[in-house]
């Protein structure tokens, strides 16, 4: 195989902070190259330089042996590099086809030939076996489909080098399988792929070679044959990983009781259809399900962000149906939101301000409506220490944190409330394995203290590892429930796909 890409001694500095420190990497045709590393290790930064979105402070890039220098993504695209960003770069009001062809639209005398675009996209769909509905409005597509749109877009642009930044973080297990298959297929067709991910099992499944980053430096460069999940983890985190803490037997009474909750907008199909569930003290209840089956709505209803039409929600015995977010939080609920940028933080806010949310009215941190900054700073610093959050300072903008570090900050904030119940939605999305371990530990610890966790995750392994009880949601209903002991991946998958409990039991 020929070497297609060489990056030599790439360095990127933000002020005096070194995000990438003399990183080198090479990529062959038909190769899948994984880049792994802790949150904030500099993976995204490296890729942004390759894609022309950031200018390297120093370093050289060679494509097919030719030195190149990119000032904007267009240069990268011209050199047949395509990137699927961690957060999608899509136009919500355009159709899939429009999103794919934009920039290189089929035209006739300046007019946009939308019919041709649809055809071209359909062809692509067939060539690469990546299912996308060309005429669907992007805003109405599932996350998985949106990602496939992104992949088709770079393929349409003729990319030979495809960068995928944490592509599996937001996908359901089935979608992940499809994605990995696609990646392999593309490599077999001669494309070179750079895959950034925190999921080492995926790496072992699909990658040919692997570069490990830590603190902006390369700590390992190995081929799949030479390594294992454990070794990669050690290279990444710089230490061994432990097994999860023993869980002690708990038999707590119900802390969260949801009865017959229905949510419906206008006359559409109900988003939540007569849902009832309990979460007991000393228990982690996992909700599995393909995203878009009512999990988000359920969490919004519980946390007070959305009102219910029918049914009741009791928290610690108190009726909290259709109460304000604030009073629900005061009654003892904390909440790790599923989308950290939408709900969990404000990009322009500082780290300190992001952490302050929910604490700003607590008497420890406020006297006569004045914020008491000193004790609060101490608290945030303790989070930063405990979860190893990489942030320049408390004044750093939340938007400048790497995705995983922001997630850790949010998790720390919500755990810090020490409420009897915590909603944890995708708590480890985009988080490196070291941090994932911390977060999982923290959740178990919370459970063992006799508090409760309602866990929503599209990551089956996470659900299986943490939950005492597992519920599966399908189309706004609870499709089935099972205990930790008798839950199997297969059984859950069947329920997630709309099969019924009996089928799964067989």
């Amino acid at each position: 195989m020929t070497t297609r890409l060489e990056m030599k001694n790439m360095t990127k500095m933000y002020g005096s902070f070194i995000a990438n420190d003399t990183i080198s990497l090479s990529l062959k045709a038909g190769e899948v190259h994984a880049v792994v590393g802790e949150n904030g290790a500099g993976k995204t930064t490296l890729m942004r330089m390759l894609y022309g979105m950031e200018r390297p402070t120093s370093g050289e890039i060679f494509i097919d042996g030719k030195r190149v220098a990119f000032t904007n993504p267009n240069d990268a695209i011209k050199n047949r590099i395509g990137m699927v960003h961690q957060h999608f770069m899509l136009f919500p009001d355009f159709t899939a086809a429009e999103n794919i062809v934009i920039g290189h639209e089929p035209k006739q005398a300046g007019f946009f030939n939308r019919k041709k675009a649809t055809e071209l996209v359909q062809e692509l769909v067939e060539t690469y076996q990546i299912p996308v509905r060309p005429n669907a409005k992007t805003a109405n597509c599932s996350i998985g489909e949106q990602q496939r749109i992104e992949i088709l877009k770079v393929l349409y642009q003729g990319a030979d080098i495809i960068i995928l930044d944490e592509p599996s973080a937001v996908l359901t297990p089935i979608e992940v399988k499809g994605l990995l298959k696609t990646i392999r297929q593309l490599a077999d067709q001669g494309k070179s792929i750079i895959l950034i991910t925190h999921k080492l099992r995926e790496v072992m499944e699909v990658a040919d070679s692997i570069t490990v980053l830590r603190n902006g430096k390369v700590t390992g460069n190995v081929t799949k044959e030479q390594t294992s999940v454990d070794e990669l983890a050690k290279l990444m985190v710089g230490r061994e990983l432990h097994d999860l803490t023993e869980r002690v037997q708990m038999n707590g009474e119900a802390i969260l009781e949801i009865k017959n909750v229905t949510v419906q907008e206008k006359d559409n199909k109900p988003l939540l259809d007569d849902i009832s569930l309990n979460v007991n003290r000393g228990e982690i209840v996992g909700i599995a399900g393909v995203s878009g089956n009512g999990q988000s709505e359920l969490l919004q209803v519980i946390s007070g962000l959305r009102s219910v039409k029918k049914g009741s929600i009791h928290l610690d015995g108190k009726d909290m149906t259709n109460q304000s977010v604030l009073s629900i939080r005061d009654a003892g609920l904390s909440h790790i939101p599923e989308d950290r940028y939408l709900w969990g933080a404000a990009k322009q806010a500082t780290v300190e301000e992001t952490g302050l949310m929910g604490y700003h009215k607590k008497p420890q941190y406020r006297s006569y409506s004045f914020l008491r900054k000193a004790p609060f700073r101490k608290l945030v610093n303790s989070w930063i220490e405990k979860f190893e959050i990489k942030a320049g300072s408390l004044e750093e903008k939340a938007g400048n944190l790497s995705g995983g570090n922001l997630q850790k900050l949010i998790v720390a904030r919500e755990l810090g409330h020490e409420t009897p119940i915590l909603i944890a939605a995708e708590p480890t999305r985009g988080v490196d394995i070291g941090a994932m371990e911390y977060i999982h530990e923290a959740l178990i610890e919370k459970r063992n203290k006799g508090e409760a966790v309602l866990l929503v995750s599209s990551e089956l392994s996470e659900i299986m590892a943490l939950s005492d009880r597992i519920l599966v949601m399908y189309e706004g209903e609870i499709a089935g429930e099972m205990d930790r002991q008798n839950a199997t991946e297969e059984a859950i998958s069947v329920l997630m796909a709309g099969g019924n409990q009996h089928e799964s039991k067989n």
């Binding site: 604030l326 404000a346 949310m357 004045f370």
Partner: protein
């Protein structure tokens, strides 16, 4: 070293406009020389008109007073994430209500003055709250509704003073209320100078706002709402309540701006006297130039006022035609709004940083 590092972030919002003024002045100089006038002499007249002696300084400050209050009001709304373009209407309604209260309510003296101030504040606040309510309740976009409500408020005020409450004494030619009783006038800060206590109120408002945003939980909630409303409501901030409160205070500040103009300068409401000089737009510019920073807004307000009084001085004392001085004014503003300097600043500090580590 410590001091320096902690001062820089504090000064940065102020530093940028200052460096930009320099570039603006250079551009203005080109405009003056195109008009065929001596640059230095013209600028000297401008400077004199704005700060030349104590009298001119105080008139600049008097002029800055309503601009500052409006600017602060707009800044507050901005911080809460809403675009309040309705300062003009809020100011006019505040002013006319205050003037009518001053003329027709019984009583006199300081108690009444405070009452009149409150009337103006509340009138402006309620008008602004109305736009906020339309947005919260009916999703009528604030950006447009506030703009439209300006016309309605100005016309309504004009109706009030040209018919039912018109001053029928004197020539009675002007649509205006009767003159206020002297006991409710805001005292001048210095005998015979135009600056009055309204300026102190405005500066106090800027300081209070600065403190609120830096140190209070209410300020924090407003700020987060402006940054990301989803985040705020997720965290338990009552979005509607905070937005409406912000709108009320925002309008109240504009209403106060109109009120101090009435109580401190004109001593009555005169139709068109507040809208003519474009105070609302100037206040908006002050805010935008200062990035909604309260202290910054106070500074840019004085600066914009100085440009205006300076232009008057230019008109009085040179052959530079009035229009040219307004051209110079806009050229200055244009360049001061540019972010060139910020870029330079950033590049410099980056370069400095990498030098340090190599």
């Amino acid at each position: 070293m410590k001091v320096k590092t902690s001062l820089i972030p504090l000064l940065r919002p102020l530093l940028q406009p200052f460096i930009a003024i320099l570039i603006g002045l250079i551009t203005g100089a080109i405009a003056i020389s195109i008009a065929g006038e001596p640059v230095l002499a013209s600028y000297k007249e401008m400077w004199n008109g704005a700060f030349g002696n104590f009298y001119f300084l105080t008139s600049t400050l008097a002029r800055a007073t309503p601009i500052m209050l409006i600017g602060l009001g707009v800044a507050l709304a901005f911080r809460a994430g809403v675009f309040n373009l309705g300062a003009e209407g809020q100011m006019v309604l505040g002013a006319v209500s205050a003037a009518l209260a001053g003329v027709y309510l019984p009583g006199s003296g300081i108690g009444k003055m405070i009452l009149v101030l409150l009337v103006g504040i509340i009138a402006g606040g309620l008008w602004s709250l109305f736009a906020g309510w339309l947005e919260a309740k009916f999703k009528v976009q604030l950006l447009i509704s506030t703009l439209l409500l300006n016309y309605i408020a100005v016309l309504f005020a004009s109706y009030l003073v040209s018919d039912p409450f018109q001053d029928k004494t004197g020539s009675a030619a002007l649509a205006q209320t009767a003159m206020l009783d002297q006991s409710v006038w805001l005292p001048k800060l210095f005998q015979g100078m135009s600056v009055h206590w309204g300026f102190v109120i405005a500066v106090a408002a800027a300081l209070i706002m600065y403190i609120i945003f830096r140190t209070t939980s209410a300020g924090y909630e407003v700020k987060m709402l402006g940054f990301n409303p989803f985040f705020a409501s997720y965290g338990g901030v009552n979005k509607i309540k905070v937005m409406l409160t912000s709108m009320f205070i925002s309008g109240a500040l504009s209403g106060l701006a109109g009120t101090v103009e009435v109580l401190g300068t004109q001593y009555r409401f005169v139709d068109g006297a507040l809208t003519g000089p474009g105070l609302a737009w100037t206040g908006l510019m002050a805010t935008l130039l200062a990035n909604s920073h309260p202290i910054g807004t106070a500074v840019t307000s004085i600066f914009l006022a100085a440009l205006e009084t300076g232009a008057m001085g230019l008109e009085r004392n040179t052959q530079v035609p009035l229009e040219v001085s307004s051209i110079i004014q806009s050229v200055l503003i244009l360049f001061i709004s540019a972010k060139i300097t910020l870029k330079w600043w950033k590049r410099k500090s980056k370069a400095g940083g990498s030098n340090g580590t190599i």
